[in-house]
């Protein structure tokens, strides 16, 4: 078959067209770029919204559109501050001085703002606020955020007991949250210092009538149990929103993985400058970066190890070194479940495994603490994006104290500790075990490699390996107490030291329940700190708790990570508050 002349001519014409258009494009790009879509803000990230219900969503990707963009709380953090508040739907921030906090610290009164309208046009009433908080408490989905307010208000972490039976009554909830004239009153089970910190981030307000009209709870005593522990998708609020915030939900497009918000022109403050906000999930970094480069995106979120690929993009600004209220740890299990556990080898101290109580020995823990190279972990696993923490109370929180000692890498001290471990037998017998880590988490993989190399360099009889496991399998390992040592992170639910001291050091805390750590003195101090109103006294108690963490060493505190955002230089009004799940679009504009 011969090449027909027309096909050659067509190919030549096509090539010529491409070349000429390319040259044209180059000229056009060089001519300077005006602001693209000036009243629409496009944010690209890699997470995915799971629910838009303010009382069920418990992950940052879902929370970003919810709070404070669509649903608002009674008070909010002032600017970048974590411990100063501004009124939002309330007209005043309760304090002892203004008498809105009772002298015993048990009752908080929030006078409500008048004339605030929901997105459906209805006017916010105290009844709506009371309903929203009761709904938050009583829906209590398994694994959801309800415990945050159940704990201070009712003194329980769940509305159900361990067998799944309801353990609270509607009367208790009525006594805890109720309307008084044009105010809403919260009566606590016990004095709880971080209460305002929680109220500034949780408890978005929605209209009761709207919710009830869409098959949600009507607010009645007789019906609430029917709505307890719901499936996420069963709620109308799963994909419908009706708040008071500066933006309204236009659409949640689950196929395109994007949430579109549109400006609330009847907002109780000055309406936002942006007309529309699009939050889209784009998993591939190259696509995110190119869209930012082309001006089709205004801000992109990327992981720490991708930062170098975004640095220096023309017409963009990178906001870096934004400290997160979080900590990454390496944890010891004091009481390993050795039944059918492949990670403990023989399950004995015979050089071919480790016994159940291997890490209950302080010398073993100290040996690891001195052997681990923290600086290398920070630079290799986190690309230097973070700081070394001083215990569980991280920088930015009340009670953070850089004078709290940390374990510095020391080969000699590590050897000395290991020689004392297990009654002096460990150095001669050695050990063998495996560290599981979340597959795909390169930071943890690097950390595990550093740990293995550091420990094996001390003594060839110290055999440590690591294995990647899917997140689901790691959950299973932790749940069945089969983890040996494991990397876990903790991100603040609210920026108060109690949210770190309790899960790390209380015998009932999240981590001690998995790892078996128990110190009654720590329990006593945690209770004392949370009931203390005076910030200076609280700070002193949290320092004591940090010292306990240092001495008992149930965890190695590895990194307090930072984050960064890359945005077009035409974005203005941006500020960072580490407790915000994402951007606060109200202050943003493009110019």
């Amino acid at each position: 078959m011969r090449m027909r002349p027309w096909s050659i001519r067509t190919a030549a014409a096509f090539t010529a067209a491409i070349v000429s258009l390319s040259l044209g494009a180059l000229v056009a790009r060089g001519a300077g770029e005006p602001v693209k879509n000036p009243d629409t803000f496009v944010e690209l990230q890699f997470g995915d919204v799971t629910s838009l219900d303010p009382d069920l969503a418990y992950d940052i990707y879902s929370a970003e559109p919810i709070w404070p963009n669509v649903y608002e709380t009674l008070i909010i953090y002032s600017g970048s501050s974590l411990d100063k508040f501004s009124p939002m739907l309330a007209t005043e921030v309760p304090s002892l001085q203004n008498g809105l906090i009772s002298k015993d610290g048990m009752t908080y009164t929030f006078p409500l703002r008048q004339g605030v309208r929901f997105h459906d046009g209805s006017v916010m009433t105290p009844d709506d606020v009371v309903y929203s908080f009761r709904r938050f408490l009583l829906q209590d989905q398994a694994g959801g955020p309800a415990w945050l307010l159940l704990s201070p208000l009712l003194g329980v972490d769940s509305t159900r007991d361990k067998q799944g039976k309801i353990q609270v009554t509607f009367d208790q909830v009525q006594r805890a949250v109720y309307a008084q004239g044009n105010s809403v009153v919260f009566h606590l089970k016990r004095p709880f210092a971080p209460f305002l910190t929680i109220m500034a981030a949780w408890g978005g307000v929605m209209p009761r009538k709207w919710a009830a009209a869409h098959n949600d709870w009507d607010g009645g005593a007789a019906t609430w149990q029917k709505y307890n522990n719901p499936k996420t998708e069963d709620r109308y609020q799963f994909d419908h929103m009706n708040g008071t915030g500066p933006f309204m939900l236009e659409q949640w497009d689950r196929q395109n993985k994007e949430v579109i918000l549109v400006r609330n022109d009847h907002y109780w403050r000055q309406p936002a400058r942006l007309r529309r906000v699009i939050i889209r999930s784009v998993t591939e970094l190259a696509a995110r970066r190119l869209q930012l480069q082309q001006g089709d995106a205004d801000l992109i979120v990327a992981s720490l190890n991708e930062q170098s690929q975004l640095r220096g993009l023309p017409n963009t600004v990178m906001q870096t070194k934004l400290l997160q209220i979080a900590v990454q740890t390496l944890q010891f299990n004091f009481k390993i479940n050795t039944d059918g556990n492949p990670d403990v080898g023989s399950g004995k101290l015979d050089g071919q495994g480790i016994p159940s109580d291997f890490f209950a020995d302080i010398h073993v823990r100290r040996g690891f603490a001195y052997a681990f190279d923290y600086a290398q972990n920070l630079s290799s696993a986190y690309a230097g994006q973070g700081i070394l923490p001083h215990g569980p109370i991280v920088q930015g929180l009340l009670g953070y104290d850089p004078s709290v000692p940390t374990y510095a890498t020391s080969r000699d001290k590590a050897i000395a500790e290991f020689k004392e471990a297990q009654g002096g037998k460990l150095w001669d017998t050695g050990f063998k075990f495996t560290v599981p880590y979340t597959a795909g988490n390169t930071a943890r993989q690097v950390g595990a490699t550093i740990l293995r190399d550091d420990v094996q360099a001390l003594n060839p009889k110290f055999q440590l390996s690591f294995r990647p496991v899917p997140a689901s399998a790691l959950n299973e390992i932790l749940f069945s107490h089969k983890g040996t040592m494991y990397f876990l992170g903790w991100f603040a639910d609210y920026p108060d030291p109690h949210d770190f001291a309790q899960p790390f050091l209380s015998a009932n805390g999240y981590f001690p329940v998995r790892g078996g750590y128990n110190n009654p003195e720590a329990d006593r101090l945690i209770d004392q700190a949370v009931a203390t109103a005076d910030p200076a006294k609280r700070a002193a108690i949290y320092k004591q708790l940090s010292m306990i963490a240092y001495n008992d060493l149930p965890y190695l505190f590895l990194v307090q990570p930072t984050t960064y955002y890359t945005m077009r230089s035409w974005v203005h009004g941006w500020y960072y508050n580490p407790i915000f799940p994402g951007q606060y679009y109200y202050t943003l504009y493009k110019q």
């Binding site: 398994a142 190119l290 299973e476 329940v513």
Partner: protein, 341 residues
């Protein structure tokens, strides 16, 4: 032929049942705690694991869970997909048109280019055209899709700004969400035409160019090789030599006599390729942020989204059977000597 088609269609429910039972059983090899992880976005929710297991009946015996699922299916409900955040059937209806549109345009390009280049290679065997077409197509198959996709994206979007990722640009995206637009088919190019919106058609086509080019470059190689070898075999056949000896022009011999017979293996392959494209082209969809079914299927599998994976398998088992059936019917159309029994 109608009996043959009916018999094949009757097999469909059994194939679907077998596939779903197999997948369901395999997934039950994982513990309830592992399967419950689908509902856990943060390890701090682990305390609620027993509650979650109870709530979603994950501790029930496998046959009870399968029967529950089957009962739902018989009522037209494939369950809820936690990864798509919507019912499985709605998710399939939503994702499928995007993949179908991409597959359709890619398949047309692959078919035209593959058969043309394969024929050209066979006719010009061992000449420069043959070497060029073979090396070009082989390089396409050898280069990982994501590399080729990213290169195209960087050049034609990052540099020239011509062909953006995604399915539509911002204005077009907002327009298709407005009440002025009626989505008839879910295929944006067709819907744009039916709505008489030429600018929308242009926008949709612009977004299709790079993913289609990527898939075409990647997949055409297989078709070129099969067409080439089939054509070479046919060109050596007695009846072709006879036709040439009778003095028929070379073009007529190739186009009318040889190629038609050489197409039988090509049809088999093309059928499988099309079903393969429909079942999702994960990497291409990921690179170009294309909201297709493949990307969702992979996410669902990774997160142990059992209703989604099982529903996905059910639909594609059906499509595979139908795809093969179409190929069988096409045999008979292309080659009248073949009769379907």
């Amino acid at each position: 032929m109608s009996r043959f088609i009916a018999r094949r269609l009757l097999l469909l429910p059994f194939v679907a049942l077998g596939v779903t039972a197999l997948i369901f059983s395999l997934l039950q090899l994982l513990t309830p705690a592992m399967r419950a992880s689908l509902y856990i976005t943060d390890p701090k929710q682990l305390n609620a694991l027993p509650d979650i297991i109870r709530k979603y009946h994950l501790d029930q015996p496998v046959y009870v869970q399968y029967w529950e699922w089957l009962r739902q299916v018989l009522h037209g409900d494939l369950g809820w997909s936690e990864t798509a955040r919507e019912p499985v059937l709605t998710a399939i209806r939503g994702y499928f048109p995007a993949t179908f549109e991409l597959a359709l345009y890619s398949f047309a390009c692959i078919l035209v280019l593959g058969i043309w280049l394969g024929t050209l290679s066979a006719v010009q065997k061992d000449k420069i055209v043959d070497h060029l077409s073979r090396s070009t197509s082989i390089s396409g198959a050898s280069l990982p899709t994501f590399v080729w996709g990213l290169v195209l994206l960087m050049v034609f979007y990052g540099h020239f700004g011509w062909f953006p990722p995604g399915r539509l640009g911002l204005d077009a995206d907002l327009f298709v969400r407005s009440p002025q637009f009626h989505p008839y088919t879910g295929l944006l190019t067709i819907d744009a035409l039916l709505n008489g919106q030429w600018w929308l058609l242009w926008d949709a086509l612009r977004h299709l160019v790079l993913p289609v080019a990527t898939l075409t470059y990647f997949i055409t190689a297989t078709l070129v090789r099969i067409t080439r070898s089939s054509m070479l075999e046919t060109l050596r056949a007695d009846y072709v030599r006879t036709a040439e000896a009778k003095g028929l022009p070379r073009d007529v011999v190739v186009d009318k006599h040889a190629r038609r017979n050489a197409l039988i293996p090509v049809i088999t392959l093309a059928g499988l390729l099309f079903v393969g494209l429909l079942s999702g082209v994960v990497i291409t969809e990921t690179v170009f942020n294309w909201p297709g079914i493949g990307r969702w299927g992979v996410t669902a599998s990774q997160q142990l989204d059992i209703p989604a994976v099982t529903g996905f398998a059910l639909i594609f088992a059906g499509m595979l059977v139908l795809g093969n059936l179409c190929a069988d019917v096409l045999y008979a159309v292309v080659d009248p000597r073949i009769r379907l029994q």
